[in-house]
Assembly symmetry: C2
Homo-oligomer: 327 residues x 2
């Protein structure tokens, strides 16, 4: 089977391709070829059992999406996006990539025709929800995003459901909770601090906490994000009926609970590296975000995340730090 | 004040301009000028107390939306759309008008800049909802449209909320229930029969009922539709917070109850003009539509519809038939 990954140079994309290379198959079907695409050339994985092609282009530019789907990949992972902070700061860029780009990709798949109907996995976001919220957001709660990023993701979800209903492709949208602990350097996402306050202290560096300790949020590890993607790629689409977009499970904790978990695992000296520096811009964005989900539908379809935040930290230490941290 | 109406040649658009001409003002502010726009030249109303300009163009074509907003209208009514049946039959046309056209209009308003921030009233539709439904759809129920038309309207709603949040304009989206009794000839809307089974019999003609008598649906009269638009144009936007799209109130009845009301008002001979001729295509579309709403939020903001279906029929006889019908 052939696989296409858009946004393959991003953190989740890189972890996904690594997992596929290790497995050599997707849902038991052998992978013959993968196309890795991003705005900048993605790195090809080493020792891949299947052919890997890497491509760099702006997939929202005319004609580019058509090139990506010309080889009729069986599964398309659409992870490409301008992140929340950047889409809020640069409305035109966010609209162009997140909205026009997504639509052009969808239309390019449709234009292939001739019975081509790939599984398309789209990463949406919990930013499709906007305050005020119930205590836990259920599967039938409405989408009232309070950021342009959330709006663009919600539009992607609507298009995905309609294109799937019309038989243009077989789409599943997964709303990722905040991925934590994100490895590497902070990106422009307003949610970046949720990872920084764990990642930097574990590496012996100072981290800035821009919001109060009682802010509650839902997280899943990068490992779970890859699990979600693979499960979404291999799930029987008939089980989803017309409602093709799902809120993924995650661990709902306050910042204080995140810090408590860090203390249990790494001790007071590590926790002391968190410096509180309130930032009203970030606080305003985060206030509009959901805190907790009742993601029953995704769970009943077999999606699974961590049970507690201690596990989220342990996975970071295992997968990113080789099992050790700066005590 | 200056007013722009897109979709002014449509049934609701014509009734809206007629009402404005009769009043001469909108929310107490004198109207100085109205621009009436549609794909075909709209008729100018007679004896208008204000200047009326009529324009025909495809507002989804490059540069056209810019021309419409160049005179900086204070209130814009965006009623233009490809209806449900047509948007389902012609996906590209529906996408172009309902999605691209709406976005181009929104972007044209934004591009005026220089503090220009008009009230924009957008007619959405209950087709943004898709089965399965709760017994009554509340204000926080999610949008899972089962038609491309509903998808395109839901996307319009999301864009309207985001453009309003960003201060590009001051938008309010109103989800119209099925407008009944629609005067004139049937259009391509799959919901057309809800009106036909009242309108045709009252005019001495046969009507076709393509669905079973137990189909339940929500209706409001054309007079209420104009009331909704005017209320939305004059409502204090600050009362709506970030949730700018509202389900309008209406009368929820079964087809059998519609027919009973017709019998009470017009008698058995009129009712006998309804001929049952099941149509599985229409039934399939209608099955995906909502039946009843709990539109608390709109009501609390002062939107009002008829109390019962008898009133819906009486308004048709008053407004369209000069008070008499073909007994």
């Amino acid at each position: 089977m052939k696989i296409l990954i858009l946004g393959a140079a991003g953190m989740v994309g890189r972890k996904l391709i690594q997992r596929l290379v290790e497995a050599g198959n997707l849902g038991g079907r052998e992978i013959s070829r993968a196309i890795l695409h991003d705005i900048a050339q993605p790195l090809a994985p080493q020792l891949s059992p299947f052919a890997v092609e890497t491509l760099a282009s702006d997939f929202s530019a005319g004609g580019e999406a058509e090139k990506l789907v010309a080889s009729r990949p069986d599964v398309i992972f659409h992870l490409a996006a301008v992140v929340s902070g950047e889409a809020e700061a640069d409305f035109d860029k966010g609209s162009r990539i997140n909205l026009d780009g997504t639509r052009r990709l969808f239309d390019a798949i449709r234009a292939v025709g001739d019975g081509y109907r790939p599984r398309l996995v789209f990463t949406s976001s919990i930013a499709v929800f906007g305050a005020p919220f119930p205590e836990a957001i259920g599967d039938e709660f409405f989408l009232t995003p309070l950021t342009s990023y959330g709006t663009q993701k919600a539009i992607g979800e609507l298009l995905l459901a309609d294109y799937t209903r019309r038989g243009f492709f077989d789409g599943i949208g997964i709303r990722l909770p905040t991925i934590c602990v994100r490895p590497g350097k902070p990106n422009m996402a307003a949610s970046g601090f949720f990872s920084s306050i764990i990642r930097e202290p574990l590496s012996g560096e100072e981290a800035v906490l821009p919001v109060p300790d009682d802010v509650r949020h839902t997280h899943a590890s990068p490992r779970s994000a890859v699990d979600f993607l693979i499960h979404a790629a291999t799930l029987d689409g008939a089980k989803l009926d017309a409602r093709r977009n799902l809120t993924m499970p995650g661990v709902s904790v306050t910042v204080a609970e995140q810090i408590d978990a860090l203390r249990r695992i790494a001790g007071d000296r590590v926790v002391a590296r968190i410096r509180r520096e309130p930032d009203s811009t970030i606080m305003k964005i985060v206030e509009g975000w959901p805190r907790r989900f009742d993601s029953r539908r995704a769970k009943s379809l077999g999606f699974q995340a961590e049970e507690n935040f201690d596990d989220v930290i342990r996975i970071h230490i295992e997968d990113e730090l080789g099992g050790a941290f700066a005590a």
